[in-house]
């Protein structure tokens, strides 16, 4: 610190011999404080169920804590590396669970409950949009102190384009996973080992649980690394680019590589389990597991991309700053001399500095003076009619593009007519070519177009046609017969029309949606 710390608080320590110490020691008390804080993080969830009775309407049927935990799950899993989860999307995904709790209630009420829970997790009513719990500890000198613990479960962060996204905080992830006060790395490794064992013993139900936990850990891990990287990117002058940063990046890359290998191994194992499983329930669970592990791998890849970007960015910043010509010296370093020393001060002292800066740093405002005469004029002036349609658009100057198509519309129509075959009577390409020549003897290009269309039909876009609800589709099959033609060579394709079952396709679409 460049700061000599401000005078310490003026609490007078009691004499050491003044009675027995009420706590066994600061270490034990610290553990207690940590657990109290962990406990406090669950309070907002209990509080939801306690307060639902106060809502206008009969809401006791809903399990609010359950919805809240589901919401935290959803936000955590939808949290991308950069931004966060979308508010509306989270509400939409919560709805099925809310609806399942009270199916006979109207959908509008379900949405209201989902929004209520989400807003309470953000704690929209408070200005900080967070929670505060009070707990007591013993200070090192034996006095009992009540302290405020401020925390958030879901926080709102600015995203690109001014949108607001949701992120779960570390506290929330810890509440959710239930592993309070543990080391991120070791917990992740533990979860993965557990998963491997479970899979090798064929206990897929437990394996899914472990895999989900591993994913929470993965998200949490990338979150801590994201923060570390962000700090690294900003910290051009102060960061130890010689040792600490490269070490950090190398460590992180090693970690990603190791996880990647590990999770790929798991993936192979589960895939095998999925393919070999007989029980459809096992098969489904294994398939879900595959998805989860794939998601983990995707997140690691994303993390790795970030790690690789950090180096070049860092060097660019280094170049720009370290090799710039040194300018004239000025005494004041706004960050080092003002901002950094102010932040650790107690609020009542820090405010004097910021007030001084504000008073002298905002410049001037010319005071407004109003004359009654002006005011009357101003009030009596009719509002200006705004032009409703705006200015007239200029006529666009269009240049006709030359028609350079190989075939004309008429030729295409003639060819399509030829190829409009009844579904029960396919024809050979040779026959179609002969008919094209016979019908339009003066048009040498028509057989060529027919041949092209037939070749195109050899690989018909069945999926697209189905999706678009087409009723029939042109197809061509090679049965090994060779084409005997003066102009064209290759196979004498069998060209036909296939009817598509549009009703079944429509049913499939609804299923997929």
């Amino acid at each position: 610190m460049t700061v000599t710390s401000p005078a310490s608080t003026d609490r007078v320590p009691p004499q050491l011999s003044a009675g027995p110490r009420p706590a066994t020691g600061p270490a034990a008390d610290e553990g207690l404080a940590r657990r109290l804080r962990a406990l406090a993080c669950t309070a907002p969830l209990h509080d939801l169920d306690a307060r639902k009775a106060n809502l206008a309407g009969e809401y006791s049927v809903y399990g609010m804590a359950e919805i809240a935990l589901a919401a935290i799950d959803l936000v955590t899993l939808n949290m991308d590396f950069d931004t966060g989860a979308d508010h509306e999307q989270i509400v939409a995904r919560l709805l099925p669970r809310v609806a399942a709790q009270a199916p006979q209630r109207p959908a509008a009420e379900h949405e209201r409950v989902a929004r209520w829970v989400l807003e309470n997790l953000i704690n929209v009513g408070s200005v900080d949009r967070g929670f505060r719990a009070v707990y007591g500890t013993f200070a090192p000198d034996g006095t009992y102190v009540r302290r405020d613990y401020d925390f958030k479960l879901i926080e709102e962060v600015p995203g690109p384009g001014g949108a607001v996204y949701l992120r779960t905080t570390d506290e929330a992830v810890n509440v959710l996973v239930g592993a309070l006060d543990t080391d991120v790395t070791s917990a992740q490794i533990a979860a993965e080992v557990k998963l491997e064992v479970l899979i090798s013993r064929g206990r897929l139900a437990d394996a899914q649980l472990a895999a989900e936990q591993a994913r929470y850990r993965t998200v949490q891990y990338s979150e801590s690394l994201r923060r570390a990287l962000e700090a690294t990117r900003r910290n051009v002058r102060a960061v130890d680019w010689l040792n600490a940063v490269p070490d950090m990046i190398a460590e992180a890359l090693d970690h990603v590589a190791e996880r990647y290998r590990h999770e790929n191994a798991i993936l192979t194992n589960i895939r095998r389990a999925r393919d070999e499983a007989e029980d459809p329930e096992h098969k489904r669970r294994a398939a879900e597991l595959v998805d989860i592990v794939k998601d983990c791998i995707r997140r690691h890849t994303q993390l790795q991309a970030r790690l690789l970007e950090a180096g070049p960015l860092f060097r660019a910043e280094q170049d720009r700053q370290a090799f710039a010509t040194p300018a004239a010296a000025c005494g004041l370093d706004l960050y080092g001399h003002l901002l950094a020393p102010v932040l650790p001060l107690p609020l009542e002292r820090a405010i004097r500095v910021t007030d001084a800066f504000f008073a002298h740093g905002t410049g001037l405002r010319t005071p407004v003076s109003v004359r009654v005469g002006d005011l009357v004029d101003l009030l009596l002036t009719p509002p200006v009619e705004r032009e409703h349609l705006g200015a007239e658009m200029p006529e666009p100057d269009l240049v006709a593009t030359p028609d350079d198509s190989r075939f004309s519309e008429e030729q295409l129509a003639a060819a399509m007519e030829l190829l409009d075959l009844p579904p029960d009577a396919p024809r050979r390409l040779s026959g179609l070519l002969a008919e094209a020549r016979r019908k339009n003897p003066e048009d040498p290009d028509l057989p060529y177009l027919v041949a092209l269309l037939a070749i195109h039909a050899a690989s018909p876009p069945v999926g697209t046609a189905r999706r678009q609800g087409e009723e029939k589709l042109l197809f061509a099959v090679d049965d090994g017969t060779e084409l005997d033609d003066p102009e064209f060579g290759g196979a004498d394709l069998i060209v036909g029309t296939a009817l598509l079952d549009t009703a079944a396709a429509a049913a499939d679409r609804t299923d997929a949606a």
């Binding site: 610290e30 001014g162 080092g336 910021t354």
Partner: protein
Amino acid sequence: MTEHADRNEDGAAAQPSGAVTPADAADAARLVAFGLQPKLQPARDQEYADLLRRYREDPPFARLADAVAAGLGLVVLEVSPRAGMAVTAAEDSVFAVRMSDYARRTSADSGDRFLHGLAHLAVAALAFPRPEDLADDGYIGRVTVNGVDAFVRQACRRLEERAAEQGENTDPVSDAPGLEAAWRVWSRRTATGATKDARRLAGSTTGIVAKAVSFLADSGFLQRTGDDNGGTYRTTARYQLQVRDMAGSAAMAELLELGVVPVTDGTPTLLPPQDTDDLELAADAGLPFHS
């Protein structure tokens, strides 16, 4: 009127005598009036440019203009073609900006008052990240709203991490809000928030920073250049002067009075002083090393 003009010519001819005419006083006041329009650029107004030239070439006129400014309760920071007649409000002048007019909640809530003040300090710190930037007249700083918030949050996070490393319990004592560490006030406030009418949440830290930068833009201190990252701005010569000559030294004096002495070894360097390893510069928002 002719007599007037004659005397003026005489006065100009007999410069050393220093006779001040009402016309001179009008011109001097006019120059100060130009200075009171901070967004007006001398290059865009011929009359303004002429008066500036006269101020620089005609010392008695300069003294007269200074006196007019002082009488109005204004401090002259610089008079130059780039900054124009850069004046700012002296303390207790009618032109001074008061925190209670700036934001309503601040009179009741000291936490809010601190956040607004800190936002202004952080904008300046990010606009001029190195001492050289503040000294270099040609330097143009760039800030974004989200960048400023991220920058302060990063600094807060470092303090939090350091406190955790040292095993300190930074949770403030209940019922003594004044003793809470200042950084906690910023870090526990939400960064942003959804509102019913899709506007920026005024009480969030990005809302507070946005208010600060748009106010500074109205003061002619910043120019808005885009909408990315909550709004991007670049600094003007006036802002540099204001921060360097007024705000920085005033805040510094206050800090010293509190008994906090930022120690430097007297040589401003690129490197931060020993142990300030938490020097955070938000390069993330495209900031701020362009000149």
